[in-house]
């Protein structure tokens, strides 16, 4: 293919935005992580070297305990949300794929929550999990249960956010799986039928391996998204009760813009957290790229 200089012109707008809104802020954040920047007077900050990073591993530091507690809370969300956001959409995608009629309508129904903003999602959440008139407690009341104070207890508050995130995210992965399932060669299923394979065998021996790149991709993307969870906690529980749902991004936000105004410290937290995300996801990304 003949190389064309005009190709650079076409990618220039995107590259400009990429540099301006991703690279430049990242580099600026990296610089600020070595300063005592307070988030207000840019230019007045002083160089503090590795202090902000040391604070994250020094047990005597004010930030140590809350930083790792937020990390734990975030990983707890990951353990709850990621498997659910993979297996549940996969289950429904498999069912929808076998529908003869109404596929499009069902697809749209599942995808609809994905177009909501996080504020809209949280608004739905406050209705669903309302202690007196929420949908879930209403269903429980039909079985004689007095209802659960969903947002007042650390365990149920965490569960509420996880369920809400699942409902919000299910559509995106479902669409990917449906596309992947429709691309599987049906000859393999016919051959399996001839061999007398059960549905479970076909699913685990044909379906799963055939869509493994998509599974891997969605796992990585869902993991990254869940590690960055913020809006649902911020709006639904404000990190409560008693900071039990304060995720890492929330804690970074509070550190930068809260009473401490420690934006430099928050920048260091962001860098460390970003490196952890890269460390977790990069090996899997490499594997996906190899298989594609």
């Amino acid at each position: 293919m003949k190389k064309s200089k005009s190709a650079y012109l076409f990618i220039l707008p995107y590259m400009s935005m990429f540099l301006l809104f991703l690279v430049l802020p990242t580099l600026t954040g990296f610089y600020l992580s070595f300063t005592d920047y307070n988030g207000v007077n840019f230019g007045d900050e002083s160089w503090v070297g590795l202090t902000n990073y040391i604070n994250l591993i020094d047990k005597n530091s004010f930030y140590f305990s809350d930083f790792w507690k937020s990390m734990l809370i975030t990983f707890r969300f990951c353990l709850l949300i990621v498997p659910a956001c993979i297996f549940v959409p996969l289950f429904f995608a498999t069912l929808i794929n076998s529908l003869k009629r109404g596929k499009k309508a069902v697809k749209a129904m599942f995808y609809l929550p994905a177009i909501l903003s996080v504020a809209g999602v949280a608004a739905v959440g406050t209705w669903v999990f309302d202690q007196k008139y929420g949908v879930i407690n209403y269903v429980l009341s039909l079985f004689g249960h007095e209802g659960i104070r969903w947002l007042s207890d650390p365990v149920t508050a965490t569960l509420s956010i996880a369920l809400l995130t699942l409902w919000w995210s299910i559509g995106g992965n479902l669409i990917i799986y449906l596309a992947a399932l429709s691309g599987i060669n049906t000859d393999m299923y016919e051959a399996a039928d001839i061999e007398g394979a059960s549905s479970a065998t076909k699913f685990f021996k044909i379906t799963i391996p055939s869509i493994s790149p998509q599974l891997m991709f969605t796992t990585i993307m869902t993991t990254i998204a869940t590690l960055n969870i913020f809006g649902q906690s911020q709006i639904l529980t404000k990190g409560g009760p008693n900071y039990s749902t304060r995720t890492m991004v929330m804690y970074i936000n509070d550190t930068a813009f809260g009473p401490l105004q420690a934006a430099g410290q928050a920048a260091a937290m962001g860098i460390v957290f970003g490196l952890i995300i890269i460390f977790i996801t990069m090996p899997h990304f490499r594997k996906v790229l190899k298989e594609i």
Partner: protein
């Protein structure tokens, strides 16, 4: 044809370049406010009235920011794109003053507004100053109070003292299948518990939280006795929802909730929170204030800001429509406000309004005291442990804030 088209486009551009803004002498100021609810419409009405009165001279362009109001002010101010003046909650003043983002009002400013600091009650006047500089001019004062369902709690049963409140809270329901009192929680409740039991909250220099004392623990334990009683609701229940449905006789919130309660067709009255959590009469209050930002403003823009603030305060009776009590005494003490069906009782008791102390560490107190005492309220931690952890958190944060200055 092409030449005609080019000429038309060029002519249009020339006309656009000759916009009227370049030739009029109207001074425009950018004013931000956080009134995203029904009160926003009332405030817009005040702005509109000002713009009509000063048409051709000044124009206020107001922007209502619903979320992350102070974060957006902070961010935009760094690039000079922030507001010229804005509404600010009084407890936010120290942060913005410490960072030189807002500037003090001068005597000339006050003269231009036709107001004086002595036009305010003493407790309100004190909240205008930070580090002995006048940074904020109060527009209103607001506080939480008790909403009393008068169908469930007869007039003669409405508590007027601490003992009467405890008696009512611990009594069997006056009406079957209801609770007399829905025990509140949150930032102002914690503050009121300490205020009304003479427990110091913060040291004078703002370095230390001082409520973790035997008196503070005792005060909170007395409060928790009511919370844990079978005669009050289970912690975590939505008190306001229960009040709207006629399931509780009393719930606590600010006058801004009145519109929500009106949907429940409840007959209610709104009374101050005095002597609820202790013998003391003081209770938490806040204020929406006018502040001016550290920008290179022209003398005309300064005049415009002063004119608007003066106008808004002069006409602050309009603000009663938003269920807010005007702060300036001549309006606050007027018959219209004192006899207002919702605000009247509270307006008569403004001498008991107590603002958070204006210290460099105020935010450490306000951001944490409600969250960390909620764990006590919800039974997740004991009073002793909860107050200990809470005071330590606030003290530690205060230490960092003060070290950074």
């Amino acid at each position: 044809m092409k030449k005609i088209l080019a000429f038309v486009i060029l002519f249009g551009l020339v006309l656009t370049g000759c916009s009227s803004d370049a030739t009029t002498e109207v001074t425009t100021i950018d004013f931000w406010n956080p009134f995203s609810g029904p009160d926003g419409q009332v405030f817009d009405g005040i702005v509109q009235a000002f713009n009509e009165e000063y048409e051709g001279i000044y124009e206020v362009k107001t922007q209502t920011i619903a979320d992350e109001y102070y974060e957006k002010i902070t961010t935009t101010s760094q690039t000079g794109e922030g507001p010229d003046a804005s509404i600010m909650h009084v407890d936010q003043v120290p942060v913005f003053a410490e960072n030189d983002m807002i500037v003090p009002w001068t005597d000339e400013d006050l003269n231009a507004m036709n107001i004086s600091t002595s036009d305010y009650d003493e407790n309100i006047e004190q909240a205008m100053y930070y580090n002995n500089e006048l940074y904020d001019i109060p527009f209103d004062v607001h506080a939480a109070g008790w909403y009393v369902n008068t169908d469930l709690i007869p007039e003669d049963q409405i508590p007027t003292s601490y003992e009467e409140f405890r008696e009512l809270a611990l009594a069997e329901p006056l009406v079957e299948d209801t609770y007399n009192v829905c025990m509140p929680a949150g930032m102002w409740v914690a503050y009121d518990i300490f205020l009304q039991n003479d427990v110091p909250v913060m040291s004078e220099d703002g370095s230390t939280a001082e409520f973790n004392t035997a008196e503070g623990i005792k005060a909170y334990e007395n409060y928790m006795e009511l919370v844990n009683s079978d005669t009050t609701q289970t912690p975590g229940d939505d008190c306001n929802q229960m009040f709207t449905l006629g399931e509780v006789g009393m719930t606590s919130d600010g006058p801004w909730m009145a519109a929500d309660f009106d949907t429940g067709n409840i007959n209610y009255k709104f009374i101050p929170l005095s002597s609820t959590f202790g013998e003391g009469t003081k209770f938490w209050a806040s204020s929406h204030t006018f502040v001016k930002y550290n920008k290179d403003l022209t003398p005309e823009e300064e005049d415009a800001i002063n004119a608007f603030v003066g106008f808004a305060i002069e006409n602050s009776l309009m603000w009663v429509e938003a269920n807010q009590i005007p702060a300036i005494s001549k309006v606050k003490d007027s018959d219209e406000v004192q006899n207002d069906p919702l605000l009247g009782e509270l307006a008569k008791d403004t001498e008991d309004f107590t603002f958070y102390p204006l210290l460099p560490t105020t935010q450490a107190l306000t951001e944490n005291i409600g969250v960390c005492t909620d764990s006590i309220f919800l039974g997740q931690t004991s009073v002793e442990d909860g107050l200990s952890q809470c005071s330590q958190l606030i003290t530690d944060q205060s230490a960092i804030i003060l070290n950074e200055e």
